[in-house]
Each structure stands twice: as C-alpha cells, then as structure tokens.
C-alpha cells in the first residue's frame, strides 16, 4: 500500500500543489512566530551580553539581600582586586548628565573610561581617550545625529547622589562605537576620565556590578568562591558572583515577558491559519478520494482490505504533510532571515540576530504533519467505505449528498444557541469575557452547521444570477454539485472573512463610540492650558495675570492672538478664571460672542445670568463668588454632557458678579489657591479647521506648543485625542488584518484548489460542452463564475457574521464604559468583498485556462 500511495502522489503530483502550498504557509506562520520569539531573545541577549563581553566573572549584590545599606563601592572593588586569581576588576557604573550642544539639550549616560583595556566595554573609534577633567568621548551614532566631532566643545552638567552639582565645558577628545545595550536606551553615550567620573558620581559611589578578569589558568569555580569571600569580608554577606554568560541570562529574564505575550497573540493567528489550512487539506483529500472511487473499488475487488485503502490515503497525507511542513519551516527561516537581515541594517537594531530554535522546527514539522494527517482522516475513512461494487457502477457524482452527521448538527446547534445567548448577555451586560466565550462558541457552532446553510445560500444566489445565460446557469449548478466540497471551501474563506470584518466593525464602532464620548466631553476642538497650572515657568515665571504680556506667566490676549495666527486654527476664545463655585472649583468666563464661535455646539453658549455646567452637576442653580468679591451670586445652570468641563459663564454675566475685577490682584488670587482649593489659570479654547488628518492635527498641536511656548501635553482637546485614538485603533486593525490575511490567503488557495480539482474531474463534461457549442470564453467565464459564486457568497456571509460579531463584541468590551454607537465601515467591508471576489477570479484563471485549452477530442478521450 505504501508503494501505491507513492505512485498516487507521483501520478497526481499536480493535484497536490495547492494543498502543499496551503500547508506550507500555515506551517511557516507557526514556525516564524516561534522564531520571532527566539530571535528577539537572542538579539536582546547579544546586546545585553555586550556589557559583560570581556569579563570572566560578574559580581553583584544578590537580589535576596534585604539590607539597603549593603552596596558595591570602592572598598568592595579594592577587596575584589586583591582576591586570589583576580587579574583586574572594574566597576560597572554609570551616571546621568545633560549635554548642551548649542542646538539642543540631551540626556547622556556617562561611564568612566576604564583603565583595564580588556575589561573596557567601550571601544574608541577615533580620537583619543578622555584625559583630565575636561575631556569626554561621545558615541558615533549620536555624534552623527547631533553633528558632533572631535575637538567640539559642549556644555555638560549633572548632579550626583550626594547633591553636589557639576557644570563645565567639555572638549570631545574621541568618538566611541555605540553600544546596543538596551540599558542605554536612546541616551547619548559619554565616557569621561576616572577623575571626572568621581566628581559626577559623588563621594559615596554605588556600582551596579563589578567586572572581573582572572589570571590565565585560574579555575572559574575557585575564583568565584574567592571573590565571594572577598566581598563577604568587605561587608557584602550575600554576593552574587557568576560568569558573564550566566549574568546575561539572568538580566535577560527581566526583559522578557512582553514578547511572550506577543508570541501568544501571534500563536492565536497561526492557529487560525492552521485551522483554515486543515479545511483545505480535508477538502483536497475528500475530492481526491471521490475522484478515485472507481480505482479504489477496483482495488477492493482485487482483494485489498478496506483498512489497507485507508492506510494508503493516510500515507499519502503523511508524505504530503511532511514535505509541505519541511518546505514551510524552510520558508519561515527564509522570511525571518530576510526580516532580521533588514532590521539589523537599522542603526538602532544592529544587534538583531536570527535564532532558529529546534523547538520552532519541531513544532512546525509536527503541527504541519499532524494537522494534515488529522484533516485527511475523514476522507480516508470514506476511502475505506468504498464498496467493491462501486467499480462497476457508472461514476456519477452529480447527486452525492453530503449527509450531515446528526451528532454534529445537534452539537453545532447547541453551541450556536448557547454561545449566541452568552454573546448577547455579554453585550447587554458589558462583560467582555462572557461575550468573548459566547462569540467563540457560537462561531464554532456556525462552522459546524455550515453545511446546512452554505450550499443553500450559494444555490440561492446562483439561481438569482443563473437565469441569464447558459454559462451562468451551468456555473450556478456546478457550484453546488458537491455540497460537501462547497461547504468546506466556503467555510475556509468564511472563517477569515468573518474575523477580518469583525475586527473592522469592532474597530469602527469603537472609534465612533469613543468619538461620541469625546464630542460629549470636549466642548471644543483644542484646548491650551496655562503652563503655570503645572508649576512650570512660562519662560521666566513672572507673576501670573490674565492679561500679562506673552512669555511672562500665563496665557493671555497675546497668546490668544498668537494662537489665532496659527494655520488651521479658525477661532479662539480666552477663558479667564473669574471666581469659584460653592465647592471651590474655578469658574471661567469668556465673551458670549467668542464662545459661540469656538463651541462645537453653539446652543451651549450660556446666556446672561447662566452658568454652563458639566454632567456631574445636577442642580438647577449654582453659587458663584468672584475672586475679590464677598457675596455669592446664585445663577441658573445650563447643562452640558461633558464629564470634564469646568463651569463656564459669559463675560457679560461675570461682570455682574459682586467684586468682579480683571486686575492683577484678582489673577493672583485665582492662581494662589486657598488651602483646599486648586489654582485657577486661564485657558485657550480653539476651533480647528474641519477634516484635518491625524498627522496634520499632531503637527498643529506641536506648532501651537511651539508658538505659545508651552509643553506639548498642555495642548489637548477632543480633536487631538480623537485623532491619536483613531491612529492607535487603525494601526491595530492594520496589524490584525495583516495577520488574518494569511488565513484568508490560504482559504483562497483552497478555492483555486477545489476548482482545479473539479475541473480535472469534469474534463469529459467540459469537452462535451465544447463539442456542443460552448466557446472557450464561455467555458472560462463559467468556471470563473463558479469560483466567484462560492467565494462571493462565503465572503458576503462572513461580512454579515463579522458585522454581528463586531457589533456585539464592541458592545461587550465597551458597554461598561460608554454608550456604544454601531458604525459600519462600508468602504472597508466592500473592499473585503471585492478582494475576495477578485481573488477568486484570479484563482480561477489557471484551472479555467487549462480546461479551455484542452481540445474537445482530447477531453472526450479521457476516462
């Protein structure tokens, strides 16, 4: 039987191309996912290890040490240097400093330029070692970015742990190779002479660890205990002394975790791709077995046992699975090598290395092979049940009805109903986990019931379009000729499309809901807060005052003018604090005219004698006292839906408050809050042009910050938050869709596969049709339409399902926090449908070309 299986594979090798491709991609996805993890770890290890590269031992304080006063200092360093077997020891230590280059102010990590050449972790590229107190080196990458060269002078300042500060002009004596250590972050890497370093680190320096070089021929184990003993005698009872390699591994543990989560997420997508691959495999083998019924029956009449037939099919699956998995793993290695190769050309990631763990290879091979075997199990059983008589009956498969297993039906229905119930409950109650479980179960139920509705749906749509012409009619009949085949093909696509559309609808709904929430909360597009309210100087920090000159404290009319001059800013209102309500919160005022122009909802402008309050205030009136007034005025409230907006009135109302003034003393009173009050500072409310993109809004924000001399975070507002949030969601959606696209792609290979196998099976029929007058073009369009019909219906149903899941899922995820507004990304969904249909069209090109090129005579001659 083994030889028969091999003969089959050889004979029908073309029929295995698509399934091999599908398994290959699925396996590659899985293997690559595991390699991502390993490569990230290896790259980190490489970059961390750099710090210890030349050390034989690394000594540090054990993490078990609870006494804070125990540390590594000069005393311990000397002790280690004197330990037997130790050739040299250096402190690993760094200090923070700021470097001023004239064009900017940068954070730097400063290390001492080590005296032991071999233990030194910095490598001099050009120039000289920093000598004396006034020389430093900088790393080449930052030197390039900041245009620094040997001989340049920069300002360097820092303060040490003991409070002493350093501030001097340093001369760059040399350029060092940039370190890739993740501990360095994006800081400028500076080395200084030991003398200078001691002024930076202070009188009582604490080292991170000690790097130790041993005498040649010293046993590391002996040296380890010697160093441990030396440290113990120097007041470090619990030292951790280990080899550089061991230390690297330990440091690494602190960095991982994040990427394990990433691996977990990627694995989910790899799993989806594998499930879809399984469907394609199952379908392929089912078709192959069906096509071989006569041959199998002949073997049975000749005396083959039914179990032998099954084994033969399974051996075929095994060979196909193994070969495709090997190819898949190779593909993964290739893709990852390319990716890592590309990443390592980026300056910030030059340490990236490819790691191919045996686990990834084994997991890939196992998953691919086992999945293929598993998927071929049912078709193999079918081969087993071929009766010897089938050889004698005419091969007629037009009415092969796929009987749905009763158990599967019942189970599927239960899952669908139960899961659907849970999903709706999750949505109503806003419980994400309940909704998630419900969605998962009900979707599995839907897939189990797919044979009930998919062929029917294809038939129905086929009827609609089939009446018009003979090729269309034939296509619609052919598309449901083998309901089982149609179901499996369409299901594979349905999975991917459902998940993609679910993500799209979910993302769009989330955006819409969030945008609505922002629109409620933020009464204007952009707000700028006074820097003083953050306790930071406004270019000097003079006395605050609402009408102070620019650059001397708070926002005022000058800044309002500056803001109005910024591109894309259409309207500006300056909100001044004018008093406090009974709770001590500042109450703001601006002219009604200005408010009417900046408020997104102009009907919210408070009338004379009115105060606009947020959602939290429910009362019909509020008491407001001017900063220098003594009597509180009771004013009517006007309610907005905002949860964050401060009380606001028109300037006309404010002028009627008792004690209202605009003088500096009032401003001071506003800023200098009472014991249980917060300081109140003016705000700018801006209206931005409509339809700005995320990038434009970001740019607008930084332009405003620069123009008004405020920090970036002081510029806020609905428009900005919306665009940032939308960008995050869009990026996530793009990534997720990209990952799901693998599954969709595999499913489309399945469409092409089913079609080409069917075309092979129907060679005689196509030849007959050609003889009877079907033109080549009509034959081609018939097959194209068949593919489009199956893929189109699967995609359309997937979009409908995905929309339902996306809407209910968003409701479960967000229902607890905000009102969810369903919003459908029509363009994206149409794109999904369009891509599926276009891909199905493309998938039909090869099979239909082959069918059309076959001459009727040749076709009629085939058995």
């Amino acid at each position: 039987m083994f030889s028969l299986a091999l003969a089959n594979i050889r004979m029908y090798s073309r029929r295995f191309i698509a399934v091999t491709l599908a398994v290959m991609i699925g396996t590659a996805f899985l293997a690559a996912t595991l390699m991502v993890n390993a490569s990230t770890t290896a790259s980190l290890e490489r970059s961390i290890g750099e710090a210890y590269q030349n050390a034989d031992l690394v000594a540090g304080i054990s993490p078990d040490e609870t006494d804070d006063s125990v540390g590594l200092g000069p005393e311990q360093l000397t002790a280690v240097r004197q330990a037997p077997g130790v050739a040299a020891a250096e402190a690993q230590s760094s200090a923070g400093a700021r470097i001023e280059t004239g064009s900017g102010d940068y954070n730097a990590i400063v290390q001492s330029y080590g005296s032991d050449e071999q233990l030194r972790t910095t490598k001099l590229d050009s120039g000289a070692v920093p000598a004396g107190r006034e020389e430093i080196t900088v790393d080449d990458q930052h030197a390039k970015t900041y245009h620094l060269k040997v001989g340049d002078e920069v300002g360097m300042s820092g303060s040490s742990a003991d409070g002493s500060t350093v501030d001097f002009t340093a001369r760059i004596s040399g350029i060092t190779t940039s370190s890739n250590s993740p501990f360095m972050g994006s800081n400028l890497q500076v080395t200084v002479s030991p003398q200078r370093y001691s002024t930076l680190i202070g009188s009582d320096p604490q080292y991170q660890s000690l790097l130790v070089r041993l005498d040649d021929g010293t046993d590391p184990a002996e040296a380890t205990s010697a160093v441990t003993a030396a440290l113990k005698s120097a007041g470090v009872p619990q030292a951790s002394v280990m080899t550089a390699q061991e230390r690297t591994v330990e440091d690494l543990a602190g960095f991982t975790g994040g990427q394990d989560q990433l691996t977990g997420v990627l694995l989910v997508f790899a799993l989806i791709a594998l499930v879809v691959t399984g469907l394609v495999v199952m379908n392929t083998f089912a078709v192959l077995v069906a096509q071989r019924t006569r041959e199998l029956a002949l073997l049975r009449t000749l005396g083959a046992l039914s179990s032998q037939l099954r084994r033969s099919v399974l051996v075929e699956a095994l060979v196909v699975g193994l070969v495709s998995s090997v190819l898949g793993v190779l593909l993964a290695i290739g893709v990852m090598a390319g990716l890592v190769g590309y990443v390592s050309t980026l300056p910030s990631a030059s340490f990236a290395v490819l790691a191919v763990p045996p686990g990834a290879i084994i997991a890939g091979l196992l998953a691919g092979t086992v999945m293929t075997l598993f998927a071929a199990w049912a078709p193999a059983r079918k081969a087993m049940s071929v009766a010897p008589l089938a050889a004698l009956r005419p091969a007629e498969n037009a009415t092969v009805h796929n009987r749905v297993g009763k158990v599967r039906l019942v189970f599927g229905a239960l899952l669908l109903l139960g899961g659907g119930g849970l999903l709706i409950a999750g949505a109503v109650l806003g419980l994400l986990l309940v909704g998630f479980a419900g969605g998962l179960f009900s979707f599995i139920g839907v897939l189990m019931l797919a044979s009930l509705f998919l062929p029917g749906a294809v038939r129905g749509v086929g009827r609609l379009i089939g009446g018009s012409s003979v090729p269309a009619k034939l296509a619609s009949l052919n598309s449901v000729r083998n309901p089982g085949r149609t179901t499996a093909t369409a299901t594979a696509l349905l999975i991917g499309v459902t998940l993609v559309s679910m993500m799209m609808v979910g993302a769009q709904t989330t955006k819409q809901s969030f945008n609505d929430e922002l629109a409620r909360n933020y009464l204007v597009d952009v707000t700028v807060a006074s820097p003083a309210s953050y306790g930071e100087g406004f270019d000097g920090g003079a006395q605050p005052g609402p009408d102070a000159a620019p650059g001397v404290g708070q926002l005022g009319t000058e800044q309002a003018k500056l803001a109005a001059g910024v591109d894309s800013i259409e309207e500006v209102a300056l909100l001044k604090p004018v008093g406090r309500n009974a709770a001590g919160e500042p109450v703001y005022a601006a002219t009604a005219e200005q408010l009417a122009r900046v408020l997104k909802d102009p009907s919210l402008v408070p009338g004379t004698g009115e105060v606009l309050v947020g959602q939290s205030t429910t009362s019909d009136d509020v008491e407001v006292t001017a900063f220098e007034g003594s009597t509180a005025s009771s004013l009517a409230t006007k309610h907005s839906q905002s949860e964050i907006s401060a009380p606001l009135m028109s300037l006309e109302t404010a002028q009627q408050l008792d004690g209202y003034t605009t003088g500096a003393s009032a401003a001071r009173a506003a800023a200098e809050a009472g014991p249980d009050q917060v300081g109140a500072y003016p705000l700018l409310w801006l209206k931005a042009a409509n339809g700005l993109s995320t990038d434009q809004l970001q740019e607008l924000s930084s332009t405003l910050a620069a123009e008004l001399h405020v920090q970036d975070y002081q510029v806020a507002g609905g428009a900005l938050e919306r665009s940032l949030f939308n960008q995050v969601i869009d990026t996530l959606l793009l990534v997720v869709s990209g990952l799901l696209a693998v599954a969709v792609f595999i499913a489309l290979i399945g469409v092409a596969n089913t079609l080409s196998l069917s075309v092979l099976e129907r060679t005689r029929e196509s030849a007959l049709l050609r003889a009877l007058g079907l033109t080549r073009g009509q034959l081609r369009s018939m097959l194209a339409l068949e593919a489009v019909l199956i893929a189109g219906v699967a995609a359309a149903l997937g979009i409908v399902l995905g929309t339902a899941y996306g809407a209910l899922g968003a409701q479960s995820a967000l229902g607890a926090f905000t009102d969810v507004t369903l919003s459908l990304p029509w363009a994206q969904l149409a794109l999904v449908l369009g891509v599926s249909v276009a891909a199905a069209l493309a998938a039909s090109v090869l099979p239909s070309r082959r069918a059309a090129l076959l001459s009727p005579v040749e076709g009629l001659a085939t058995e």
């Binding site: 037009a398 052919n478 009509q778």
Partner: protein, 249 residues
C-alpha cells in the same frame, strides 16, 4: 484510392485531400492518409473499418472538433479548415449535431435542458412545435424533467438524439451511438435515426463496428489504415460482414 458519392446532388459535408498525422518523425501515425469524400444531404452513411483505421479521427475532423493536418473540409457550403476556434464552436452549435457512445449529457441538467442546450448556447429560441415533435417521436415526453442519472442508457441516447435533431443541423455525427446499448434498445435508436433521415431529410454520418447497425444506413463507407477502401450502397448486415472480413477486421 478515392471513393466519392454521386457528386451531382448537394453535399452536406465533403472533404478533399484530408490528412491527419499524430506525432512526427519515425513515430508519426498517419491516422488519415489523404481522404476525399462527400456526404450527400439527406442520407444516412455508416463509416466502418477495423479498430485504429481512423474512423473517429475522420469524424472529429469533419465535425471541426479536431484540426486536420492538411486538406479541406466543407460543411453546409462553408470551408471550415480556416476557421478559428470561436467560429468552429459556433458552427458546431448551429450546423452540427452529435451523438456519442457514452457520456452524452451534462449531468447537472435535466433531459429537457440537455436537449435545449445547443440552442440556448446560440442564444436562439427553440421551435416549440418542433421540440414536441422530436420529443414525441423519441418517446421522451414523460422523461423531460429527469436528470441523466435517472435515465436508462437507451433513454440517455434518445435524449442525445433529440438534442442533435432539435437544431435541424446540416449533419448529425454519431460515434458508435449504440455501442453501449443492448441490441433491442440499439435497434430503437437506429430506427429513430433512420426515420429522421427518411421523414425529416436529416443527414447522418455514423461510425460503427456493428454490421447490424450499419444495416440501417443508406450506405457504408469502409476505411483501413487511414484511407477509404470501399463503399456499399444499400447495405445489409450480411454484405457488411463479408466486406469487413475482406478488410481483415
């Protein structure tokens, strides 16, 4: 050796210097080695000969299903060897009917749809009265809604005959149309074919191995090694048998 029918009457199909070579060089097979033949309209001709003599090849070339290596073929006054695939296809659906030995029907279509298929492909309306006549004559009235697999072999062949006759083609080709049928059902189908010639003036060219089947024809053309080697007007099964014996078949 050249054999032609009486060239005076109109010819539905004719071929001149027809050759068909499979392969090339030393392995070349001359399936047709220069055939000149004409088939008079309104007659029933049987082509006979030993296996491998080129009968099917001749029929395929004449019907425009396969291209000849050289020579010319005229069907209903049109020269077909210079036609492209689409023109040939159109010619087939309008001017030619086919009855094959087996697998004559499209399995997804019922009997009536199968019968109407060539007309629908041509985008033409069928003549309802003619359809009724054909279906009646062939005794298919109560079988029109059945799918091929629900029909017996004889019924399937009759559906194929109905389909071939419905377009009133210039010629109907049959390649062993009764090869898969028992002798009684075969006889029924053959009588139908003959009556369509007698009563409707249909032209039929049939390849067969069966002398009894050839007995239904007006004339038998004999082939050997890709050449025409004789013809029997008004054949009887006995005459055909002895003629074939003479060819060594």
């Amino acid at each position: 050796m050249t054999i032609t029918n009486t060239p005076t009457t109109t010819q539905a199909v004719s071929a001149r210097g027809l050759t068909k070579v499979y392969g090339s060089g030393s392995t070349a097979v001359h399936a047709l080695a220069g055939v000149d033949i004409g088939f008079t309209a309104g007659r029933f001709t049987a082509i006979m000969g030993p296996s491998g003599s080129g009968k099917s090849t001749l029929m395929h070339c004449l019907a425009g299903l396969d291209s000849a290596t050289s020579g010319s073929i005229t069907i209903a006054g049109q020269e077909i060897t210079s036609m492209n695939d689409n023109e040939l296809t159109r010619l087939r659906r309008e001017k030619i009917g086919f009855v094959f030995q087996s697998f004559n029907l499209v399995p997804t279509l019922d009997a009536e749809q199968n019968i109407l298929l060539p007309l629908q492909l041509a985008g033409k309306k069928h003549d309802a009265a003619w359809l009724a006549t054909v279906v009646d004559t062939l005794g298919l009235g109560d079988r029109l809604g059945h799918k091929p697999h629900e029909l017996s072999g004889g019924q399937q062949q009759r559906v194929a005959v109905a389909r071939a006759l419905l377009t009133r083609p210039a010629v109907v080709f049959g390649d062993e149309p009764t090869g898969n049928l028992d002798s009684r059902t075969g006889a029924e189908v053959l009588s139908l074919l003959r009556s369509s010639v007698r009563e409707m003036g249909q032209t039929i060219i049939m390849v067969t191995h069966d002398p009894a089947a050839a007995g239904y024809a007006d004339e038998v053309v004999l082939m050997r090694d890709g050449e025409l080697v004789g013809h029997l007007p008004d054949p009887t099964p006995e005459a055909v048998t002895s003629a074939l014996a003479g060819l060594g078949a």
